[in-house]
Amino acid sequence: MTTLLIPKFERKPVILRQFPDKRNFSKVSQDDFDLVLPVKDKNGWGHVNRLDAALSVFAPDGELLRQMRWPAKSYVRNMARIFRGFMGHPTTLRTQAGVDQVTPLSIADGNGQLPTLALPPFGGSGKQFGSGAIFIVGDGVALEDHLRDNLVAPALTPVDARQGVRTTVQSTVTMTLQCDAAISNGLSGSVNVTEIALFFNGIDNSSQSNSPGFYFLLAYDGVASTPVAAGGSVAPRYILDFPV
């Protein structure tokens, strides 16, 4: 009896990376995907940090289907205002709705407060996204705009997942933070993800613990259309590197 050997079909994930100053994505190995690239100055200007964005797509059974990584270039207005808030300059942030919101960042000694949200712990209420920074992905398309306040078309939010910030490198030459979340597609159909955004929760200057809070955009990136099947999940990530 002849035994027919049928090769087992293994679907390998597609791993893509866009390198600095290149327009197209290249297929790379997992090692090259995680590779830390040297940071370059720009014509007499030094880098404050390197910001990379990454997107991973998983099938409903948890199998990694696709990974993409590219140099992010989208710190928007609010992030610039917060950075200057570190230096003691009063800061007004723009909310997701495009409204100027006075925050108690950096006022008189003893009164300066980070915009932190006094809400129940994450998961305690189905109505809240949670505190700290959150990711939202969307399926809208638009030019990258430093003055953006929101995604073009928000689609999926991490209602049931916590955003995590991890320190992946801390040395005498650099410190690297990794900020990511896993977002499930609970809709009945596939979603084509074309934009990712990092938001933060804030409180107004009333400084009350029961303040309703607001969301404001920190970083935004457009991405080539990436389908996420119903039941699948997508994991956006921002990598912040602060090399000397």
């Binding site: 030094g46 880098h47 003691g88």
Partner: protein, 269 residues
């Protein structure tokens, strides 16, 4: 056959040369007199500020819009002033011309800065009540960003940032907490803020700080640093926290002169 010059087709320069009309060389063309408003020693303070603002703003905007794409960039600048606030040359270039400003790329943001960003982005967990820890310029550890959000002690950056200047020459290290050779016992110059622009392509702003030499003698600057003034979770104010430091090259500062440092940030899409 006598050949005569076509007077309509040619023009004569001041030096007597005949050239086709519309093609006068630069050397032959008479330039309009250059408008001179005086040297810094004779200019009024208002004229000086006007020229500096115009040159600085245009230079920043032009460079940022043309060359910077994506991310955050920064650079430092150094200038000297006399006791009347007038610019003083820092040195001479190769041709013997006065240098009025020194600039360089800034990329020496140290761990304190990254820790502040991390503390800002961290997901809050009231059960953990964890704190971020930064290091003051004297080596003292301070806890910041109380994550127990209902205690009323959620304190972070307060007070204006400061700038310091030093004489240290060592390479920068991400774990630095102060300048390597702070001058005048670490005298701090309170920074002022200037928003250059905030448009669809970028946000550009500056922090300036200055220190006057009152030592009675000359000192030489080799480094400058930008510090935040943080409040700890115990309510300790003005914790001077190094955020960035840079080697500037040697700059001699004579007695009574004021050294002015500036950090310019660009956030570009």
């Amino acid at each position: 056959m006598k050949h005569e010059l076509n007077q309509e087709a040619f023009a004569q320069t001041e030096g007597g040369l005949f050239v086709p009309r519309g093609t006068l060389s630069v050397h032959a063309q008479k330039r309009p007199p250059r408008k001179v408003i005086g040297t810094p020693a004779t200019m009024t303070a208002a004229q000086i500020r006007s020229v500096q603002r115009h040159m600085k703003r245009q230079d920043i905007i032009t460079q940022a819009n043309k060359r910077l794409r994506g991310g955050i960039y920064a650079r430092w600048a150094l200038e000297l002033r006399d006791d009347k606030g007038r610019p003083v040359p820092i040195g001479k270039d190769k041709r013997g011309r006065d240098i009025w400003i020194k600039r360089g790329p800034c990329h020496s943001f140290v761990q304190n800065y990254a820790i502040m960003v991390r503390g800002f982005l961290q997901h809050l967990d009231t059960a953990l009540q964890a704190h971020e820890q930064i290091t003051e310029d004297d080596g003292t550890f301070h806890l910041i960003r109380d994550k127990s959000i209902n205690t009323g002690n959620n304190l972070y950056a307060t007070g204006p940032g400061v700038m310091k200047f030093g004489a240290g020459l060592g390479a920068r290290d991400a774990t630095d907490i102060d300048l390597q050779g702070a001058i005048m016992s670490g005298l701090e110059g309170i920074t002022t803020f200037n928003l250059v622009q905030e448009v669809a392509a970028s946000s550009i702003y500056e922090f300036e700080g200055q220190v006057q030499n009152t030592t009675g003698g000359l000192f030489t600057i080799e480094e400058m640093g930008l510090f935040g003034q943080i409040t700890s979770n115990l309510g300790i104010f003005d914790v001077t926290t190094l955020l960035a430091s840079d080697l500037t090259g040697s700059t001699a500062v004579a007695d009574t002169l004021t050294v002015l440092g500036r950090y310019t940030f660009t956030f570009a899409v």
